[in-house]
């Protein structure tokens, strides 16, 4: 039904329109940077009297120091605890009480550090003292005042997210309260107080438990990533390993904040019923005082080339799940858009290959999806395929079918219609995302933070449109190879027996 002529027209259309889209869009955008390096992108959408805010920090769990995994995430929790003036009944008293807590904790750790020579009674005594000191500090706390202010003023969608390469803070407000955001957001990064730190550590432990229940998808993916990466810090879960979290200290979070939350490492997006000139004035007033500090170092660790295929088995009573990942370069590689195209071909809608073959035709899976950059994209990462087998079908069966599919995919060049379809989908998908203040703020801040230019949101479409069938074949051939692969799956608990012949064979 798609004649060549029609295809040609669409190709042209796809090439022309993104530039047009950008020019239209640019009319609504104002961007500026403060003297300290803090960058703002402001977009006017006056459809409704609301504004969405998004703060994007170029630091995440991959920056956690060794032995202190979970720190970036812990700081994110701290960013909701208030400041010297918000969240406290008496800052002077509280400050002293917080210091007392640290002093006692230091003493306890000093004793513990003696190892086998440590005096257990002394440790128990200090632990009790610590509890009391924490209670004393707590009595000066105006709990959750910071977030209460936001909610009282009509805040919607209040949340934050710690990923591997970045941390984000976001919410929306009625547009007449825009100054409140400037005040609260600037204050939390100018004068944060890390109160209720040790209680919050318990909360984080609960969060980690919740996300990594045995046999769950969360646990499988955590173990999968830890297996795939031998050296690079993507291997550590953002929530941190439980024993690391148990030993996090306030001082560590302070050090992390000082090092990474510097103005040049942060950018903010404001989208909605906003006056850009007013936004600039408020930005200067409230964020201006943030002192400029040097950019933190990049991550130097390079994941060594994989010597061969890796496998992780997760014992589970649950129905089987299976994931396979292939090593690939980071987002700045010129082939980055090719991976995106491959992902859309394999897994985007009912015409995508994974769905068509595994779910629709063979009916051996109820879900089969690809993700082009996992768990994050800044540094070399993984092209991932995730499969949930159908009842009565096994991981082994699905693995084999997936291998066949990928082998054929590498061998046969994709046709023009398929390539055009994914490009059209990418364009339409972008247009659809322009429909939301919060979504737009998130995209703009992420693109600026990742690439240094919000326009990348649109120009990545140009990059995508340049991808050819030859590119797809070349990249697929180099990526989908066995020694590049890590596989993880759930299986019923088993007795000691030779792997991998039986590995993956599980009940139902």
């Amino acid at each position: 039904m798609m004649g060549h002529r029609l295809t040609l027209v669409l190709l042209l259309a796809a090439a022309v329109l993104p530039a047009q889209d950008v020019r239209e869009f640019e009319k609504k955008v104002t961007e500026f940077a403060l003297a300290n390096g803090l960058h703002f992108t402001v977009v006017e959408r006056h459809e409704a009297p609301v504004v969405s805010f998004h703060t994007f920090v170029n630091a995440g769990s991959a920056n956690d120091p060794a032995g202190e995994t979970g720190l970036a995430h812990m700081f994110e929790h701290m960013a909701f605890k208030g400041t010297e003036s918000i969240g406290t009944k008496n800052w002077a008293a509280e400050k002293k009480a917080l210091q007392d807590v640290e002093d006692i904790y230091d003493q306890m750790e000093a004793e513990r550090n003696k190892g086998p020579k440590a005096n257990q009674n002394q440790i128990d005594y200090l632990r009790m003292q610590l509890k009391q000191a924490i209670n004393v500090a707590q009595s000066d706390v105006e709990s959750n005042e910071y977030t209460r202010i936001i909610e009282e003023n009509g805040g919607a969608g209040l949340n934050a997210d710690t990923s591997f390469d970045y941390t984000e803070y976001f919410y929306s407000l009625p547009s007449n309260r825009i100054e409140l955001w400037f005040l609260l957001e600037s204050q939390r990064f100018l004068h944060p107080v890390f109160r209720e730190f040790y209680q919050e550590r318990d909360v984080v432990q609960e969060e980690n438990r919740m996300r990594n229940q045995p046999g769950s998808e969360g646990q499988l993916m955590r173990d999968f990533v830890a297996t795939a990466f031998a050296a690079f810090p993507y291997r550590n879960p953002p929530g941190g390993w439980p024993s690391d979290v148990d030993n996090l200290r306030r001082g560590m979070a302070q050090a992390f904040f000082d090092k990474y939350y510097v103005p040049a490492n942060i950018n903010l997006a404001i989208v909605g019923d906003v006056d850009p000139a007013q936004a600039r004035r408020l930005a200067e007033r409230y964020f201006g005082p943030m002192p400029a500090r040097p950019l933190p170092p990049l991550i130097h660790t390079v994941e060594p080339v994989q010597d061969g295929e890796k496998t992780a088995v997760v014992e589970s009573q649950s129905q089987p799940l299976f994931v396979a990942g292939f090593k690939r370069p980071g987002q700045d590689d010129p082939d980055d858009p090719v991976y995106e195209v491959i992902s859309l071909i394999l897994s985007g809608g009912r015409t995508s290959l994974l769905y068509k073959e595994l779910v629709q035709e063979k009916k051996i899976a109820i879900e089969a999806e690809a993700s082009p950059a996992y768990p994050s994209s800044r540094y070399p990462n993984l092209f991932v395929i995730f499969v949930a087998p159908a009842v009565g079908h096994t991981v082994v069966e699905n693995q084999k079918a997936l291998e066949d599919l990928l082998t054929r995919f590498v061998a046969q060049r994709i046709n023009a219609e398929t390539l055009q379809r994914v490009k059209t989908q990418a364009r339409a998908s972008l247009i659809r995302r322009l429909d939301s203040n919060a979504g737009l703020a998130s995209l703009l801040a992420a693109n600026y933070g990742s690439y240094g230019d919000w326009r990348k949101l649109f120009t990545q479409l140009d990059d995508l449109n340049k991808v050819t069938a030859e590119d797809v074949e070349r990249v697929a051939r180099s990526c989908f190879v066995a020694h590049n692969r890590t596989v993880a799956f759930t299986a019923a608990p088993s007795a000691l027996r030779p792997a991998p012949a039986n590995a993956g064979e599980n009940r139902q």
Binding site: M2, R45, A48, P49, V50, H73, E76, H77, S85, Q138, S143, N144, T147, E152, N153, G154, G155, L158, N159, D161, T162, S163, P174, S175, N176, R177, E179, L183, E200, D202, V203, Q205, E207, M210, Q213, P214, E217, M221, R285, Y286, P289, Q317, Q319, G349, R350, T351, V359, Q360, K363, I366, E367, E369, A388, V391, R421, T424, Q425, A428, I431, D435
Partner: protein
């Protein structure tokens, strides 16, 4: 009834405070707190308390009026020219509340296959390709109280996408292979429904509170979805999808007059009519108090859901209850958050929600999770907070915070055209006044501390809460019974598919037709069978002594399709029974009355098992015939099921197997064996039937006279002795 969820790829990030924003309905304009005053000359950074805000810009709420097309369908059009997109959603009044109990999942499957099964003109795959080539979509879904068909496209593709949308909505083909696929997907969901403890807690709580034997609380099972056939879906679709039962909303980059003309033309051919759809069943008011434990050994936390039945949005007390729930557990500043998460460090997720529906009571739910050892301590703390909010007034500060949060965030209910239109349609669909949200706003403004206390006292009954805990009891710090309430164990075992529920797929249906054709030929031909309009049979029934019944003689009269009269002379006296297929009566010299319970079910079974009905099954009559093996078919219609086995050599019917209901206890498997065939009106009929129950001989009947087509009249069958 809970929705099934298919797994999704887990995002890599971690969210800090996963507390959902209060689910507020919204009002039109927010009035600012005070008139603007000149800014005081302040220190460089003022206190947040000193900030002064200008009045909020007004929210322009478009006045969308519905347009009724000649065929009865209602249109709602809303222009939005910001982006070159067009979206549409048709709402159909139906829902899985209308599932028959033996076919739970019918509405869900119909909703899935409506789209995937393709249209008269195009297969599902053809639609997939066409639509995905232009990055457009047409989708369908049926949930608890709503059926929907929707579309989304770039403006330039509107004509062809609208055409596909029209065809999916009005001419779905429900191809068999997509029913098979959808069933595979649902089976996967059933198999996985106990893998994540959070899902278990929510599901068991919801189903327990609403009642596991009610449409609100029952769940799909392998057996129920196995029984669903293509013709079931077609009939479901036909009953509910018609123009007068449809509201169509379209928003995006188009001109309303043009769109109206286009739709009038496009839907001119959709003129089917059906009787008005019945009301949804009411929620039973039976309380479901109790503490339930689902033991799961592979968890490190206990996931809990506790609460009770809630109310509807229209309730007079809804605003006060929402404020109450917000103060109790609605956000960072709530009592449960501060106590259980911040102070005790026992939870990451903890929230309370008075979740009212438009048309039926929702649920008051407190949910969260905590490490196993803290289970009882956490639940006790929660119950204490519930008691506290029922016994003393909340503070002025708490009240102000909750009211401010509710009122100040109302603006977000109208921040997109889609939301605005959705709200208008919701109000019309559920019969709410157009200004309901303004009424709600005023009501929130008026809520006092006394109101909150009164509402909490009146509506919250913590002693009658349903508490569901999913966790590893061996690791609870204290036993769950410490809560002072008796604990019932929940059996999470997923029932295996019932043996009699044969799988209806393309192959077994084809084989079923083959077997039916064979048996029809063997007894004398489909034509002779179709000509049978009535029969009168006189027989003698002999019972095994263990049956507790004495021998009797009996005359049965039957008029097609489903009218059966039995008159028997028992040793105790005469007994007459009549059934029209659905209801009936019995009569003896000592008394008479309607058929009920197991006796009604038995008589209905007799009607279903009438020789000629069984042999003609599989035609347009609505019964489905599925081959179980080379000589056996399973015949089902409505809630009736039976298996007919034919003689491999002769093709004559040999056995009939079914479950016979008992007054109490489980149904008993029954087997009838046919023999001694005679020809009557050109048809081979058995003159001898042997009955076995649970494999043991029960009874037998021998025919003395068999007459067909004597011109029986219905009033003779209906006349009481």
């Amino acid at each position: 009834m809970t929705r099934l969820s298919v797994l999704a790829l887990v995002a890599a990030g971690y969210a800090a405070a996963q507390v959902p924003p209060p689910q507020q309905s919204a009002a039109a304009q927010h009035k600012s707190a005070a008139a603007p005053t000149p800014k005081a000359a302040a220190a460089p950074v003022p206190s947040w308390k000193d900030l002064v805000y200008p009045p909020l810009h007004t929210v322009a709420i478009p006045d969308v009026k519905s347009i009724t097309l000649p065929n009865g369908m209602k249109l709602y059009l809303l222009e939005d020219h910001e982006l070159p997109l067009v979206h549409g959603a048709a709402r159909i009044r139906t829902g899985n509340l209308f599932d028959p109990p033996e076919k739970i999942g019918l509405a869900t499957l119909t909703g899935m296959v409506l789209r995937t099964g393709g249209t008269r003109a195009k297969t599902g795959e053809q639609l997939d390709e066409e639509l995905e080539n232009i990055a457009a979509s047409v989708e369908s879904d049926i949930d608890e109280t709503l059926g929907s068909v929707s579309f989304s496209c770039l403006k330039e593709n509107l004509p062809e996408v609208l055409a596909d949308f029209h065809d999916v909505l009005t001419q779905p083909e429900f191809r068999q292979d997509k029913l098979d696929l959808a069933r595979t997907e649902l089976r996967g969901g059933i198999a996985r429904r106990n893998d994540e403890p959070q899902g278990i807690a929510e599901r068991e709580f919801t189903n327990t509170v609403y009642g596991k034997n009610t449409p609100y609380g029952w769940d799909i099972e392998y057996s129920t979805i196995n029984r669903i056939t293509r013709s079931d879906m077609v009939n479901f679709y036909r009953r509910y999808f018609f123009p007068a039962n449809t509201m169509l909303a379209i928003w995006g980059d188009f001109s309303a007059p043009e769109m109206k003309a286009r739709l009038e033309k496009l839907f001119a051919d959709w003129t089917v009519e059906q009787p008005p759809v019945p009301a949804f069943p009411p929620v039973p008011a039976k309380p479901a108090a109790g503490t339930y434990l689902a033991a799961k050994s592979d968890v490190t936390q206990t996931f809990f859901s506790m609460g009770q039945l809630g109310g509807v949005l229209k309730d007079k007390d809804y605003p006060a209850l929402e404020i109450m729930a917000d103060i109790l557990g609605g956000g960072f500043q709530s009592r449960l958050f501060r106590k259980v998460r911040t102070e005790m460090g026992n939870a990451y997720e903890i929230e309370a929600d008075w979740d009212a529906n438009y048309d039926h009571p929702g649920l008051f739910l407190i949910s969260g999770s905590t490490k196993s050892v803290s289970t009882v301590e956490t639940l006790q703390a929660i119950l204490e907070e519930v008691e506290r909010i029922r016994s003393t007034e909340v503070s002025e500060e708490e009240l102000k915070t909750a009211k401010d949060a509710a009122l100040n965030s109302l603006v977000f209910a109208f921040d997109t055209k889609a939301k605005t239109l959705g709200r208008i349609l919701n109000y019309e669909y559920y019969g709410y006044p157009r200004d309901f949200i303004q009424q709600y706003q005023r009501a929130i403004e008026a809520v006092t501390r006394a109101d909150v206390l009164r509402a909490a006292k009146q509506h919250l009954a913590p002693n009658d809460f349903t508490i569901v805990a999913v966790g590893n009891p061996e690791q609870f710090g204290q036993p769950l019974a410490k809560l002072g309430r008796p604990v019932t164990a929940i059996d999470l075992t997923i029932p295996e598919p019932k043996k009699e529920a044969a799988q209806a797929d393309a192959a077994s249906l084809a084989k079923g037709r083959e077997i039916m054709a064979r048996v029809q030929r063997a007894v004398g031909g489909a034509g002779k069978l179709a000509a049978v309009r009535d029969f009168t049979v006189t027989q003698y029934d002999r019972f095994d002594p263990s049956a507790g019944r004495l021998d009797s003689s009996e005359t049965d009269r039957w008029i097609a399709p489903s009218y059966l009269r039995q008159d028997s002379r028992e040793t105790s006296g005469p007994l007459s029974m009549y059934c029209d297929g659905k209801l009936g009566w019995f009569s003896t010299p000592r008394g008479a009355g309607p058929l009920r319970g197991a006796t009604l079910q038995e008589m209905r079974n007799e009607v279903f098992h009438v020789y000629f009905s069984l042999l003609e099954a599989g035609g347009e009559g609505g019964a489905s015939v599925v081959a179980v093996d080379d000589r056996t078919v399973e015949i089902s219609a409505g809630d009736q099921i039976a298996r007919l086995a034919i003689d491999a050599a002769t093709g004559l019917p040999q056995q009939l197997l079914y479950d016979s209901p008992r007054p109490s206890g489980p149904a008993q498997p029954m087997e009838e064996e046919y023999s001694d065939f005679h020809e009557v009106n050109g048809i081979q009929v058995p003159f001898h039937v042997t009955y076995r129950q649970g494999g043991k001989y029960l009874a037998e009947s021998a025919v003395s006279q068999y007459r067909i087509n004597t011109g029986l009249q219905l009033e003779d069958l209906e006349r009481r002795p």
